[in-house]
Amino acid sequence: MRHLDIVDLRADYGSHTVLERINLEVGKGEIVSLIGPSGSGKSTLLRVILGLLPPIAGEVRIGGQTIDYRNKRDVKAIRSRVAVVFQQYNLFQNMDVLRNVTIAPVKVKGRPRAEVEEEAKLLLTRVGLGDKLKSYPDQLSGGQQQRVAIARALALKPEILLLDEVTSALDPELVNEVLDTIRDLATEGMTMLIVSHEMAFVREVSSKVVFMAAGHVVETGPPKQIFDNPQMARTQDFVGKILRH
């Protein structure tokens, strides 16, 4: 069953077209990875899905429902069904870890604080931060902050999780703790769209890999195809360069 469907999507920054005729499907419980050179539009695609940048043409569908990005209610609805973790952690610096995780369920969804806090503690324990509830973001390492950001996204009980290079700002030693967290989510059947430069990880967790370049989807296929037997010259070039590193 299709969970997230992107059809002929186009988006511009000013007069500059950044995404053109993007087509992409993510099935329920599936993990799809977006790869591609810097500036190819991967982050922009996630921003469009979340309604941070209105599309010029095309459609985004969630569970078959088309999102109208001019409609505030639709945008709000999508933000409660789709959660995102950005490249930079974007935690609220003025709140401690527990509040970072609980504020949206309490203030946006209006759920009882006590109940949300219990869930948040479980989530934070699961990402290995059960003892950091009262710490502030600037007292945590990059990997810890990124895991708080993941917990904050999960606290909203999203159907779909978007991850944008969540390990790229981290020291190599910290990458694994974050990847482990994502692996756990994968085994639980969370639908995910992941932008990543960790090719070994992409190959391991994804059922499908989408290669983007210059605002276009160049090639889509299972990891085996994209990494071992790419069909397009542009993909071969990119994969060749990346795997030689």
Binding site: L50, L52, K76, R79, S80, A83, V84, F86, Q88, N90, L91, F92, Q93, N94, M95, I103, A104, K107, V108, K109, Y136, R152, A153, L156
Partner: protein, 224 residues
């Protein structure tokens, strides 16, 4: 030369000086509050206003930050009556200090605006916050944390700056010290006590502000 200090002659006048100190505190507080409002308007105009308004606010800030405060108050006190605006010394000082504070606080608050992290705001949007919720839970606490220390510093400077009012005959702490000096001729005693009172005032204010800043806004402030 034989100097004997005779604080005993001054101590009976301590309540008189304290009364002056109270007036100093009032002037600083009122001018600061007025200046904060002007500053908020100014910073908003500079950050989001149309070009002509930005130019106007820029000229205001430039004028008040590049001329001595004393000259500004003289101007209000002596030049404005010619234009039909008569003012008591106290009012002229208060207006001058408010306008001056407004210029500095415009600059300080604008720096607070520009320090807002766009990415943090984006995160607030993506978890479903409305604009009002973003302002309340993310922007304001951030601005308070960044701005509390420089605002506190400026407040302390303004408290000391109130001594300028003495020149216009306002009987705040320095004004009363001058009166007392001409009555008793115990200059060293009078002015050392006066300096001591200023130190006590600024010490208390600094400590209180640092406690509030650290306690409520996680601002980085030293407690003496």
């Amino acid at each position: 030369m034989d100097i004997t200090l005779q604080f005993g002659q001054i101590t009976p006048h301590l309540p008189y000086l304290l009364g002056g100190a109270w007036l100093s505190l009032q002037i600083a507080f009122l001018a600061f509050c007025g200046g904060m409002m002007l500053g908020l308007l100014g910073a908003t105009a500079l950050s989001f206003g149309p070009r002509w308004l930005r130019a106007l606010v820029g000229a205001y800030v430039g004028f008040f930050m590049n001329t001595p405060q004393l000259v500004q108050i003289y101007f209000i006190f002596f030049a404005l009556p010619d234009a039909g605006l008569l003012m008591e010394p106290y009012e002229a000082v208060l207006l001058g200090m408010t306008l001056n504070a407004g210029a500095y606080l415009t600059e300080i608050q604008r720096a607070g605006f520009t320090s807002i992290h766009r990415t943090e705001l984006e995160a607030a949007q993506t978890i479903g916050f409305s604009l009002m919720q973003s302002v309340r839970y993310v922007i304001l606490p951030h601005i308070m944390k960044v701005l509390f220390p420089p605002l506190s510093n400026h407040y302390i400077l303004m408290t000391l700056g109130t001594s300028m009012a003495a020149i216009f005959g306002v009987e705040e702490l320095t004004g009363r010290a001058l009166n007392l000096n001409s009555q008793t001729f115990r200059s060293i005693e009078v002015f050392s006590i006066t300096a001591g009172l200023y130190i006590v005032i600024t010490f208390i204010a600094t400590t209180l502000l640092a406690l509030v800043g650290r306690g409520f806004f996680r601002a980085r402030m030293r407690i003496l």
